[in-house]
Symmetry: none
Subunit: 209 residues, 4 copies
DNA sequence: AATGAATGAGTGTTCATTCAT
DNA sequence: TATGAATGAACACTCATTCAT
């Protein structure tokens, strides 16, 4: 006798629902903020009763944790597989990657920066560890580039934060279909970053400071 | 005349309570976010019953609006009275002012950036108008400096946003008493900003791009 | 020395405010019901702060009691001074008086019938005693008229209630300026009441029963 | 099929709770008035937490609307199925029906007359439409009877309101077990109504007016 | 996996009332 | 007599969560 208590169909249906919960929560959290979104709203967006959410996530907090951890994991994985020309300057590589990825995933990024304080301490630590790993990539690039004389950065940790803040601010105002194409924006930001860390020996600004 | 129906003492007491409400709400909103703070928590921090808050602010939303609008007004007023040496480069002036002001008012700044979406549309418009006025200051500096050849900025609006994002990110991680003094941080950021907008004619990065 | 702590001016002003409170409360209670009207609303209608009401009425309940008792007193006094031609049939006298008075004081009447249950037991007893005195007038008229053979009423208490209910329902729908004048309405109701209590010996309805 | 996601038992339990809410609210509204009854009181009478009420009625207003609309619907349905001897005079039919129904449903009737002003405009319109349908029944009876010469009614609309006010006032004071039986009361009122609309040709009151 | 009913705590806000001034 | 600030309790309603089915 076939006593399969959880047939393949059910498992698939469940996985699909979980995914719809993630998508709905992502959108709603990004729009209104974690604290302002209720489980009822998420359920309603999914087309399900509130109780059903608890078949897929044990608490509301777990939905947030899931979104943030999987975002960070996806970000790091995407960097690993970025596939830029090997001749490209590492800083350019990072800037282009960061801008493209963050413009594509505006909601995830927004949540990742806004909802950190709504994470339980344990989940916060996990997310922050990932974030540090990501920032360390840029710090390494700056350190190695400075050592090699390609860049001039006084304090790579500070420069990392400054650059990431600058780049990450982009999706809060940039909208596709506006005056600037994604490529143009990318170039504008890349130019500013490069100059900001460029060796200063012959820079004319010396005279104007 | 002895017919003063609202004695000065009462009014003074009320104004003091209102100020304590503002202070408590500022701290709590900064810590946990507007949506996650209850009127009861604010009242408790003030040392008053919840109902008493409504003698000073008609709604919770009005507290937020008050905090944000008065922050923006204070920011613009502070810029007017900044009092830098007149010989100082305008960009340096702006960067130093912005960093100093934002490090001193970390809570206000944090709220001003985080709680925009929790403002009613009307209040949002008012705050945004102020924000645009502030950003326009930097845009003007960049435009005039570019025309004069002191800076080289392809798109002053974009550069404004990039620079402000970079600078405003600072209070989220910088803590006094750490490795770097405020002056050191200021100098580090100032250097990066200057380089980012510096004329490029002789910049060595040209060769690495 | 003249140590008059409450000068005549003050006393007059106070009496005027009390009267304005009565008027405002009357209107608001009639519109929305006692329970749904707040002291703040009354104060606001008077143009005064809520606390000031307590200089004139010790509680909200006392305002209601004041309105209802003074209405009943005024109603009974008006009946005493009605001044109808002495030859007029007593029932006609009562019906005409009742309709006229109740159409003129629609708000008071409405409250007197609707807000009985919102009176404290003690106040309720006082108002009901007055109401019974008023209804006893009609009952007497019916009893005396029955004895004299002018009317035929099986149960004067029941007839009293029936007639008063009929008449008192009038102000709930009658509006001046509509199709019927006050006089016409008065005549229509008077006719119905008279017929209802008329001796039946020759009434044709006998045959239809 | 075992895929019934909402088992009959759950739905039944819910329907029973909703019915208990209706019953409790009916009693409490009749006693104290809609505005003076809190959701907490209703919940407590039902034996449930306040929040549970909202599984059955979206707002307090909806409970009132439900009570009033279903009362009006039941009243009209009861008239359709009243089942009086076909030979009975239509007016007698209506009076007997109205008195019996209204004595049996004193709470519903009381609410239907007292809480009209607490209905939202939309709900008020719906209830009033039903009320007009009910009153139109009596108006038709009076009109047809007048045409046929059975009754003499100057203004059937006014007479309708007068008669209904008279009859509806009954449950506010009549209590079973008192001096008069229901049948006796019914007869007393019926007699008054009949006389009030009776043809006047030979009425002796003519001489007394 | 999903429902609908329920809980117990909490939400922003309003209440009648008090009181120092 | 009136104010403005405060209280303490209550308001209608929503919350995240549980659970029998």
């Amino acid at each position: 006798m076939a006593l399969d208590a959880t047939p393949a169909q059910s498992r698939t249906k469940g996985r699909e629902t979980a995914e719809r919960v993630r998508k709905a929560a992502l959108k709603l959290f990004a729009e209104a903020g974690y604290a302002a979104v209720s489980m009822r709203e998420i359920a309603s967006a999914v087309g399900v009763q509130p109780g059903a959410l608890y078949n897929h996530f044990p608490t509301k907090q777990d939905i947030l944790k899931d979104l943030m951890l999987s975002h960070m994991a996806a970000l790091l994985a995407a960097w690993e597989n970025a596939g830029f020309p090997s001749a490209m300057d590492p800083l350019e590589r990072f800037v282009r990657f960061h801008i493209r990825y963050h413009l594509q995933r505006a909601d995830e990024v927004f949540i990742a920066y806004m909802e950190l304080r709504n994470l339980d301490p344990e989940n916060f630590a996990a997310v922050e560890a990932q974030r540090n790993r990501y920032e360390a990539i840029l710090t390494s690039i700056l350190e190695e580039g400075s050592t090699a004389g390609r860049y001039a950065v006084d304090n790579p940790r500070v420069a990392t934060r400054a650059i990431i803040a600058m780049l990450t601010g982009l999706p809060t105002w940039y909208r596709e279909g506006g005056r600037l194409t994604g490529d143009e924006i990318e170039t504008l930001y890349l130019t500013m970053v490069r100059k900001a860390v460029a060796p200063v020996d012959t820079q004319s600004q010396r005279e104007t400071g």
